[in-house]
Symmetry: C2
């Protein structure tokens, strides 16, 4: 009994849009191995992506073809909209074998369909398409033209449908609860592990009506000197101390759609320079959000942010945001829109972007972010949570 | 202030062993991009692996060279044993750029060291080494000999040191608590989301003395018909019902070392055939564990297991186990030893293997596993947890 998060027509519409993009790029076949892209086109949802699996989209084929490990094919039957003949399981001997490679199986599927001389697009710079995958396809399909189609699906996915936005709003409700738990739980003397445990508990428990899911990034909750850099998390043997800065980079996740948010807690009385940075960032954040509307480019958003910092002494040299949505580990970002100099992407209604100006100084960091939706009229903040440095004594 | 989980001498010993293996394979330089392998050699620990990063090991170089995003290089300073000159941050412009690729930066590091005509080993079939990474290195290093070195570090890592085994034992203590929480919480009428939330809470809270960490696989806790396949998890909108089978594939994680375990719960009175399968699996599990000692091969272990099933009507066609240890998402397995026909690996003291004979039938599944350590004398179960089908009324 299938219970899909979207109507079949929505999946069909996604396939149509991907085919339009394929056609425009001169791709007759597309091999999709990105876990989120597989889910986007078929609904497939399982923690099986540590082995090779994927979806083949052919311009001349109505349904995508799912392939994966035989033991996961019942998972495809339960979680995708595909018919039985579009689900192809491979024998377990392929898994992490020193003699056989799954891409030989995939080449076989391609030959079965008569696609072996076609122009085939590949997600060349993707976690799930290794150098060896490419080599085996080259060996097995000497008459095909193999082309780079990295992010072909990602760009289609960047514009969300109303049904997708509804899930992101549900993820946002979860995220508000999660952030509240974090800010309330973190206190002098509390084990960092216990605060983090409460946060992951809240991420899955969700609301009264629905559960959350495991976000694509584990809670990033560094304290003290660990806040001077990006991407560290809690110390499993430490209690929070007076004088700690704690950065919180958290998300709610619903049906694999995310709503991310960053905030900062200070235990005790915050130093004046940190308070000053907080004020500068919050002001710049809101000035930038007001500036956003359909038609402005990603780099113009970043320029507006940089303009707001002028004369304040605060600097932020890396990108200040990225589009987000449907994803699996290791990242909830979509690898399409980046708010940074040089990104000419024109913002359009339905894009969801995490404006995330993280500041990491020598001694500590400060983070306050906002995920927003580009609307017809401008932009809409997806989460309501106080924009401030949370001082807790 | 660095606080490494191991003594510097232990990291140096690991590098010596990897160099021995490189030398035997005729590799003068090794590019390590696997997150767990990076951690193994340097200590580096951060959720930054969604962008390209890695470690270069040269036979003629004492320390490995860490490279990663500039904003993560303070993380390398805090979490690795490397000197300042071995930490190389790249500019943020490289991140997910349509014009620049991080492998150009890496090729620059290789040229700086005078390694551009060397024999360079690459982790060709690894999540973190995309087809595009390989293409860029080929373009940038035309005089180098690029060779496949997939799992070169993994094989060294497969034999654990006493200090590593100590962490796995701590992870096992966490896993026992986690499994207990799962078996106790799952009951008719309870939301699946709430049981899963309790499990993730326990995974991070750990024990009174130390916290756990985010395991490399999210809790796999399917119920009812979702147990007929591998790798599905809880339903975020469902309560457990009388008659449910619930599979539990969980782990404790400590300093990124895992201890995985599977068990099965039945809500209500279990059907006779499920009880029969449970009895067959548990008997076969213990017969196989008794058989294990240094010197037997991986395929002999699987054969012993298959022998124990003879005449019972139970079949298990895929591999029944794999080595595990230090890891990050998406898998706690090490991709080296597989308990299956054809795997000639001779078991050695210090290997840690998850014997995991999952049975997935049309209607439901049954799982009961044991992680074990190969010792000088035989094998040692790492976890103490009742081996049974847990019937809960």
């Amino acid at each position: 009994m299938k219970k899909l998060p979207f109507r079949v027509e929505e999946y069909e519409e996604r396939v149509r849009k991907v085919k339009e993009r394929m056609d425009a790029a001169g791709l007759e076949v597309l091999l999709v191995v990105d876990t989120a892209n597989m889910n986007y086109l078929t609904g497939y949802d399982g923690w099986s992506f540590y082995v090779h699996q994927g979806v083949l989209v052919g311009l001349d084929s109505e349904q995508p073809i799912w392939y994966g490990r035989e033991q996961d094919s019942n998972g495809a039957r339960l979680t995708t909209w595909l018919d039985e003949e579009s689900i192809k399981g491979y024998r377990d001997e392929y898994v992490q074998s020193r003699y056989m490679h799954t891409m030989s199986f995939v080449a076989g599927l391609i030959r079965e369909r008569g696609w072996e001389e076609k122009r085939i697009g590949l997600e060349m710079d993707n976690y799930w398409f290794s150098a060896r995958c490419f080599q085996v396809l080259q060996e097995q399909l000497p008459d095909a033209t193999l082309l780079d189609a990295t992010n072909c699906v990602n760009w289609v996915k960047t514009i969300k449908s109303p049904a997708e936005i509804a899930f992101i709003r549900e993820a946002a409700r979860i995220c508000e609860r999660v952030m509240k738990v974090a800010v309330e739980t973190i206190a002098e003397g509390v084990w960092e592990k216990d605060a983090t445990a409460s946060v992951v508990q809240a991420q899955i428990a969700g609301t009264e009506e629905y559960g959350g899911e495991c976000p694509a990034i584990f809670p990033i909750m560094p304290s003290a000197e660990r806040t001077s850099t990006a991407h560290l998390t809690f110390d499993p043997e430490r209690r929070y101390q007076n004088g700690d800065v704690v950065l919180l980079e958290l998300a709610g996740c619903r049906r694999r759609y995310h709503a991310p948010l960053s905030r900062t807690v200070f235990l005790g009385k915050a130093p004046e320079d940190l308070k000053k940075i907080a004020a500068v960032v919050v002001r710049g954040l809101n000035q930038t959000l007001e500036f956003i509307e359909p038609g402005v480019t990603a780099e113009e958003v970043e320029a507006r942010w940089r303009h707001s910092l002028k004369g304040t002494g605060v600097e932020k040299p890396s990108r200040v945001g990225y589009s987000f949505g449907l994803n699996y580990v290791p990242d909830w970002g979509e690898r399409t829109v980046s708010l940074r100099p040089g990104d000419k992407t024109i913002l359009k209604p339905g894009m969801t972007i995490h404006f995330m100006p993280g500041i990491w100084l020598e001694e500590y960091g400060f983070e306050c972010s906002e995920p927003f939706l580009v609307t017809e009229a401008g932009s809409e903040k997806l989460i309501e949570f106080p924009q401030q440095l949370f001082e807790k004594s």
